[in-house]
Symmetry: C2
Subunit: 262 residues, 2 copies
């Protein structure tokens, strides 16, 4: 962490739309379970969603893409807005953890920047929140300068989160569940090639319930959205599973019409 990071933020603040922030629930799929990308603030046990501010001449989507590229190295991530959080109760004073986190961050900021930064962070922020879906394998999590870690965390094991980020994640998960047939879950969260078991486990992870293998297999196959490839040799003492990939044209059409895998 060095002075130029602060300097850069200090000078960039002038270029941001005041009062607007952006947050993003980035979902990835690993080890057969759903993960979310979180940042850990320095010197505290406080975690946060990746986020940032809106440059005056940028579209929100552009800005979120930029934030996510910094945080993951990946461009063209699938993004969709899901809610705008605007409560007057949401500031850094909203709970003990947030107060402590802000205090801790403030204590390591160069003194000469404090007035600007205090003014900026004590605004009322209206935060538009996005859901992003990424292939966890194509991504290198990368902390920003106020964080000491950027990690994939299983959504079943969420840590303490600052501000209203816990509520945001709940709402993002509900969004995933209730729009499951309208979101390109399979295409975006899985690797180019994947096994049938993985595809099923992904939908199970989002819905939070078990699905019957045989029925799932038949349903997916009837939709005609998969291309079958070579087998995946795992070295395990059993028949190797086939790899599949998604036929984009068919899949996009299915998603557009909300036609269901489930």
């Amino acid at each position: 962490m060095n002075e130029t990071d602060f300097l850069s933020l200090e000078s960039r603040i002038k270029t941001f739309v005041p009062g607007i922030s952006l947050d993003c629930a980035v979902f990835g799929y690993q080890d057969r379970s759903l993960h979310i990308l979180l940042l850990k603030y320095r010197h505290t046990d406080a975690w946060a969603l990746p986020g940032g501010f809106l440059p005056a001449n940028s579209e929100m989507e552009e800005a979120v893409h930029h934030i996510l590229e910094e945080r993951t190295g990946a461009k063209n991530i699938y993004l969709t807005q899901f809610y705008t959080f605007s409560s007057i109760k949401r500031g850094w004073n909203c709970n003990e953890l947030s107060r402590r986190t802000f205090g801790s961050a403030r204590s390591i900021w160069p003194k000469e920047f404090l007035p600007t930064l205090d003014r900026w962070f004590n605004q009322r922020f209206i935060s538009t929140a996005f859901v992003a879906l990424v292939d966890a394998k194509k991504v290198t999590p990368n902390p920003d300068f106020i964080s000491e870690a950027c990690l994939w965390v299983p959504v079943k094991e969420l840590p303490q989160l600052i501000l209203d980020h816990g509520v945001m994640i709940e709402k993002a998960l509900e969004y995933l569940r209730t729009r499951i047939n309208y979101l390109p879950i399979g295409k975006e969260l899985l690797d180019e090639k994947f096994t049938m078991v993985d595809l099923q486990a992904l939908y199970e992870a989002i819905l939070g319930k078990q699905l019957d293998r045989g029925n799932f297999y038949r349903k997916i196959m009837k939709l005609n959205m998969l291309k079958r490839h070579e087998k995946l040799m795992t070295g395990a003492q059993n028949k190797a599973p086939y790899l599949y990939s998604i036929d984009d044209k068919v899949y996009d059409q299915l998603i557009k019409n909300g036609i269901g895998f489930i």
Copy 2:
């Protein structure tokens, strides 16, 4: 229209969160079809959604409730946020109609307020849009001081709309359709008591397709959400239809789980 209206806006501007606006697609059901509440600007053929700004110490929902009370006389209208429109292309310069409308409005504003008003309206606005569902019979549309009319317009006959309000309405309608099982459509859009034919026609209006009467009747009745009352004597030369009302407890549970009428 009088000077105090302008004065009031001029002085209230200081109390609004800059750069934030609120718009609301208010849906009502009349004459067996879906309507939306629109305002007609003075001296132009430009129409707009009811909307306004966010007082610095208000929640967005509060502010929208306040706007809708002014526009309809009704309190406690059902409201839900559905999208935040933030494009850098959305200002009063986005198309010919908007430019003309703004010019026309500007020409009737007292000169001494023009600097303030120009500065305010030339900002980049981030607009959070809401869907409201109301019982059209309980409402008295009431234009604001820059409009000459506030009317229920059938969604099948939309006029020219300013800014991106046309896109907003499209998105709002899509929201209604894709969340039809999660929204209290019947409860909010219909009168306290209504006939089965009206209930069905309402769902048909939103989905834009015909439903089978017998099947619809059976499905609704099986959900146990209706209480039957006296008949509605229309004077028509036929058996009078029964009136029904919604059993709130059952209905709320159904809506919460997205359990479908359709």
